[in-house]
Symmetry: C2
Subunit: 152 residues, 2 copies
């Protein structure tokens, strides 16, 4: 079975090099980008401006291979690809929560962006705490490794 | 530009009919399913068992069309597809947070499942509150509509 997707837009960000991209955008809220939704999909943006945060789904277009084990940014040990957030995953799908600063037609100005400039956009969903947040969470190998990261 | 994906597994759930699926799995934590990751990807599951919650990305295989405006479960007004979580989206991509109950090899037993039985799995990512949660969130048209839903 093959699933064929078509980008619905392009994400423009300040990050042209891998070294510039923050581990997650929430740790660098000053990183502002724009999401250009292709005009044919603009009607689908109706009412997004009521949401402060959006979940974006995108294609890790710079990653040309995948590996079932990988070393994350935050340590040197190998972990399974499904236990880390590396782009080098079987389907090269990425998700991020961004802060919606402004909408002008088909252009969304967003904060907390953490992707390469030019990343193909696949979907946008409203971020809803009652759907997307959980309590009493265990974070496995990441336990104790995020203490030096600032949360916005 | 076309992006071609290959399912990495299948999600088995108790939900065979649309009417049975909860609005979100978190509102029906007793809904238990299994995620079958194809054996060729099993190595990528190393260390997922340390996480209490996983984000799953999947293909809404029952949705054969899309609409840029849609009526969500929770009300009768139309909203842009990117302001709702309907499956009838341009790329038919879905995401859910599930609770990991047990891993046996390539099989994950999960709670809070909210997808059709047989849904093609595209990716699994660890759920990390510091990456995925936000404060001071505005939820647009959903404001006031979730008060009768139980949060786990």
């Amino acid at each position: 079975m093959k699933i064929v997707l078509t980008p619905i837009g392009i994400i423009h960000s300040p990050y042209k090099k891998k070294e510039d991209i923050p581990i997650r955008g929430v740790f660098m809220p000053q990183g502002v980008g724009t999401i250009e939704v292709f005009e044919e999909y603009e009607k689908g943006l109706q009412d997004v401006e009521g949401f402060s945060h959006l979940i974006i789904l995108y294609f890790f277009h710079k990653s040309k291979e995948f590996s079932l084990l990988g070393k994350p940014f935050l340590e040197d040990k190998l972990h399974g690809i499904f236990a880390i957030r590396s782009p080098h995953r079987p389907n090269h799908l990425g998700i991020s929560v961004v802060r919606l600063l402004e909408r002008k037609g088909n252009i969304l100005k967003v904060g907390e962006i953490d992707v390469f400039d030019g990343t193909p956009l696949l979907d946008i969903k409203p971020y809803v705490p009652k759907f997307d947040e959980r309590k009493n969470v265990k974070i496995g190998w990441l336990e104790g490794k995020l203490n030096n990261q600032n949360k916005s």
